[in-house]
């Protein structure tokens, strides 16, 4: 058995400028080729965990191992070749076209002077067509709609061609059709391109559909992890999310059914 591609060892992480730990004492292994969904209510530490996996935030206690080595031991460039992360809401660079944004994804692979080579240009093209923004390539970022911009960013990190892909709520601000397209793309990344995908999802239904394994976070701690069916049972839905619900029995196409608030008298 090979080592997991990512291993979180008892990590406690604090977001800079904050006075409390957003993630406390979390242990987690992520195997190669796995698609893992990070779920939990607002403020449960999903994005912080993802940032720690990307090496963008370093744990105050504990550590994160990438392919067996501490992420801190990687240079920015070496790290970017292995791990690509889509942040939640990147600031829009004015006047930069979609194509150039996607090319930024090749930075870790290209030389400072000569820029992107043939293989890199091909990767840019693949990424553009994979998320369907090839038509938008000459548009500047600030002229796009929120959803189009989101897909442009996604194309950028796909052009990075990293083994591990970390997505922070990629479906936010997408319309229904593009949400489903994105989930199907995530499925492809795992199955056809054998990438390791860790994805923060708000919508539990999406997590159930796309992930091999669900990691449920609650108030900065790992509440439970495992296949969606086992992980998101009635108890977890009640205790973590405060809703009544269950996963429908159909083993081929599991679905989440939510009946309502666990405690209807309590609001906010």
């Amino acid at each position: 058995m090979t080592a997991p591609i990512l291993r979180v060892e008892r990590a406690t992480v604090r977001v800079p400028g904050s006075t409390h730990d957003a993630v406390r004492d979390v242990c987690l292994d992520i195997e190669r080729g796995e698609t893992v969904a990070l779920v939990g209510p607002n403020g449960s530490g999903k994005s912080t965990t993802l940032a720690a996996l990307a090496g963008a935030l370093h744990p105050r206690v504990g550590r994160v191992l990438l392919a067996g080595d501490d992420v801190r031991s990687y240079s920015r460039r070496a790290l970017a070749r292995l791990v690509a992360r889509l942040p939640q809401d990147p600031a829009t660079p004015e006047g930069v076209t979609v194509e150039h944004v996607v090319r930024f994804g090749r930075h870790a692979h290209s030389s400072t002077l000569r820029g992107t080579d043939h293989a890199g240009a091909a990767a840019v093209e693949r990424a553009l067509s994979l998320v369907g923004v090839a038509d938008l390539r000459r548009r500047t970022m600030e002229t796009l709609s929120g959803g189009e911009r989101r897909r442009a960013w996604l194309a950028m990190i796909l052009a990075q061609e990293a083994e591990v892909i970390l997505l922070d709520e990629p479906t936010a601000s997408l319309d229904l059709r593009h949400q489903l397209e994105l989930l199907s793309l995530v499925g492809d990344l795992g199955r056809r391109l054998s990438r390791t995908v860790v994805i923060v999802l708000h919508d539990l239904d999406h997590a159930v559909q796309v992930a091999h394994r669900v990691v449920l976070l609650h108030r900065g701690r790992l509440y439970r992890h495992g296949p969606a069916r086992d992980c998101l049972d009635a108890d977890a839905l009640r205790d973590v999310f405060g809703v009544r619900g269950h996963i429908t029995a159909d083993p081929d196409e599991p679905r989440l059914a939510i009946q309502g608030l666990a405690d209807p008298r309590r609001r906010f």
Partner: protein
Amino acid sequence: MRRVLRAWRAAEYPLAERPGVGVALLGAGLVTASAFSATQGALTLGFQGSLRALFENGDPMHALLWDVRLPRILVAAVVGACLSVAGALMQTVVRNPLADPSLIGVSAGAGVAALLAILLLPGLTYALPLLAFGGAAVSSATILALSWTRVRAVGPLRIILSGVAVQAILFAVIGLLTFLYADRAPSFAAFTVGSLAGSGWRDFEIVMPAAVGGLLLAAVSVRPLDLLLLDDETSGGVGLPVRGTRLFVSAVASLLAAAAVSVAGLVGFVGLVVPNAVRLVVGPRHAALVPTCALGGALLVVLADTAARTVFAPLELPVGSLLALLGGPYFLVLLWRRLPG
């Protein structure tokens, strides 16, 4: 013709995909402006007269052209290129179109160091740009540290206000030096507003190494510079060592500003006016921005200096005050458009 103009106005960045056209236009403009400038002055030569004087050793105007006008035009061009590229780099580093070395204390830092060097180490003329670079680096490091918040983008007001404060301190130091060395006050006054009066080959030799070095470093950094257009989280994610890049680029900007200050004094606003104007035409990417800024800055200062020495002839104005008269209102317009409330 009208159709071309309309297409130009409709396009977001008309020359973003063809920066070569911008470089060619500005280059032609610079050559023309330099040639024009060479013919102008107390003795107006005319084009043919200038050509003859340029190449015929026996011509009475030969020395005037070669020893007075040419070196001054060259120094003006180099100073303009340095200040303009320094401005473009600073604006990218702090992600703020209002950042200009002359507004946020970087030039003033170079100026204090240069003045001290002139007063205390008069023999080290050729090291002047390096000593000025020390001053510029200290003030840009101070401003970066003051505005280096953990929020995503450095707020536009914060950086400008930190710069104003640093600048005020440095101008106080310059004022003190002027007071203490009152016997040299006239040359200090020219230094403080920025002037190219009396620039010669020696100034060209002083400024060239730092200017060429700085411009080359800027030219090879255009790709990392583009990545600084992204927020830190995103650019770090694609593999850019963000802080290191920022420090490096601010050092290059400081070097360029210092080079300009050490021969021309505190010429202001070039780094604000040129990059902001050029960016509207060629877009924010640095492979286009850096060369067009260099040429545009050179063109602006050559023109301004020609005006400074001819418009009120025989009275010669300091080029810095002309540029400030132009740049101040421009700054107000940018401020008005960029800052909410």
